[in-house]
Amino acid sequence: MSSDARSLAASVRSGERSAVDVLEEHLSRIDEREGDVHAFNLVTAESARAEAADVDARVAAGEDPGPLAGVPVALKDNLCTDGVPTTCSSRILEGWCPPYDATVVTRLAAAGAVAVGKTNLDEFAMGSSTENSAFGPTRNPHDLTRVPGGSSGGSAAAVAAGFSAISLGSDTGGSIRQPAALCGVVGVKPTYGLVSRLGLVAFGSSLDQIGPFTTTVADAALVCEVIGGHDPGDSTSLPQAFPSVSDHLDDGVDGLRVGIITEMMGEGISPDVAARVRAAADALAAAGATVEEVSIPALTFGLSAYYLVAPAEASSNLARYDGVRYGNRVDAPTAGEMMEATRTAGFGDEVKRRIMLGTYALSAGYYDAFYGKALKVRTLIRNDFDAAYERFDALISPTSPTTAFAFGDKTADPLQMYLNDVCTIPTNLAGHPAMSLPFGVGDDGLPVGVQVLAPALGEVAMFRVASVLESSLASSGPVAS
């Protein structure tokens, strides 16, 4: 396994290791295993070598390249990169090179990170397994016969396989946390508005949030602090810095109140996964937290509300892919026929399904019954969360109902695939933060993720809980496969 980002950056900043050396170590791992894993749509080895050499030159000149000096980072391929293809794993954008960098990409570079490539995803981030990528699925580095989760499966697999020390994903209904759980790495979905969405190709604009994959909780805190904070280019960006979570990683959980979400521990949750969440609860109690079960009834409506709200927003956002301004075009005699031919050839089945579902939920006669009602359920979920957070500082649950499943298991039945997101979706509807961290393995020996949830801007409590869980797992001996 690779070293964590903090250790790598420290060794580069001190001159102990060169950024070029760190990069070549990661590139050699890509050479060895990428053919099996397929984490990337594109590996940018040459530009990465130039970036790493620049970091080394700055160290040699006595400058500090930043807190992520020489740290290799992989970027989900729905983050715009100036002059570098950004496909969203869709045929319709194949070959498109954005004319600008996403804000998070600019901030990572300013912190000294070295971009090694663009990672695979379910087309336009719609899916839970990367099986919806137009360029073929990513495989789970722990077991190549299993999915890595999705939609940010490539970013999760890249960190799990040691291809990069950190990566970025986007999370609309669990697309960072679920693949983090299935690949045995840390994944964070920050509070809505804390990380700029400028340059993130839009899926569900009221739900989307960018966040990191890392191997340690401390690395996740650092990357959040680097990429977060106000951006005037995103009108939904909160006017504040990312909370200083790194300063509180050693605070412990003594006196914190932590709830176990009852609705996420019963039906549909694999017993071995639930057992790991109970073990996490025991570890927190042993560290001084007050741990109790808490019922949050409205969460049971989360899946239904999400699969109306997210497709509705997607159907509007994806209207822009019409063969006029970017991406591919299928020629036809008239503009209308060209647009239909382009969209029919360019989008995969899952994207078409969601566009049609969203168009239906927004259409005259059904708006009130579906979209309007889903927005009201969103309020119920937020209110029920608020009531729980009057009694608790943070909540825990499984991240995903099962460990990584096999390819093809759920592709024939979209609803079964959607049920994978049942534990992660409510967070996005509320706009709250949540993260997944590995906490042992299931009966099949594959990683289990525990989800830590917190109220809006409750990142400090969330990271304190995660940090204690990480330490307790380390002190109880290796459980990972």
Partner: protein, 108 residues
């Protein structure tokens, strides 16, 4: 072909509905796709029956997590994208503009 055949006896969406939304969304579906998508969308909407049954008359809708506020900036010119750089990524461009097939004279 009977376009209004429901996917199931108690289906919430028919093939005619799906054909309509596909047309609105500028997607063309083959007959087998129409049947398959209708069944799948009916499954998903069937799952949403749990919220259809809720009495939510007194609940405010929540469209976004953060209240929407107008965002203003100083009225001074800033950097903009280079026109040629943007047009270079378009499927077709001419004379500094996006080029599209004829729009007028189409069937409605």
């Amino acid at each position: 072909m009977d376009q209004s055949t429901p996917a199931d006896d108690d289906a919430v969406i028919t093939t005619a509905d799906v054909a309509k939304v596909a047309s609105l969304a500028r997607l063309r579906l083959e007959p087998d796709e129409l049947d398959r998508f209708t069944h799948q969308l009916a499954d998903i909407l069937g799952h949403a029956a749990d919220i259809e049954a809720l009495d939510l008359d007194d609940v405010e809708p929540m469209a976004r997590p953060v209240p929407l506020e107008n965002v203003l900036r100083a009225d001074v010119p800033g950097p903009t994208f280079d026109r040629d750089a943007v047009l270079s990524q378009a499927p077709a461009a001419e004379d500094g503009q996006f080029r599209v097939p004829p729009v007028l004279g189409e069937a409605p």
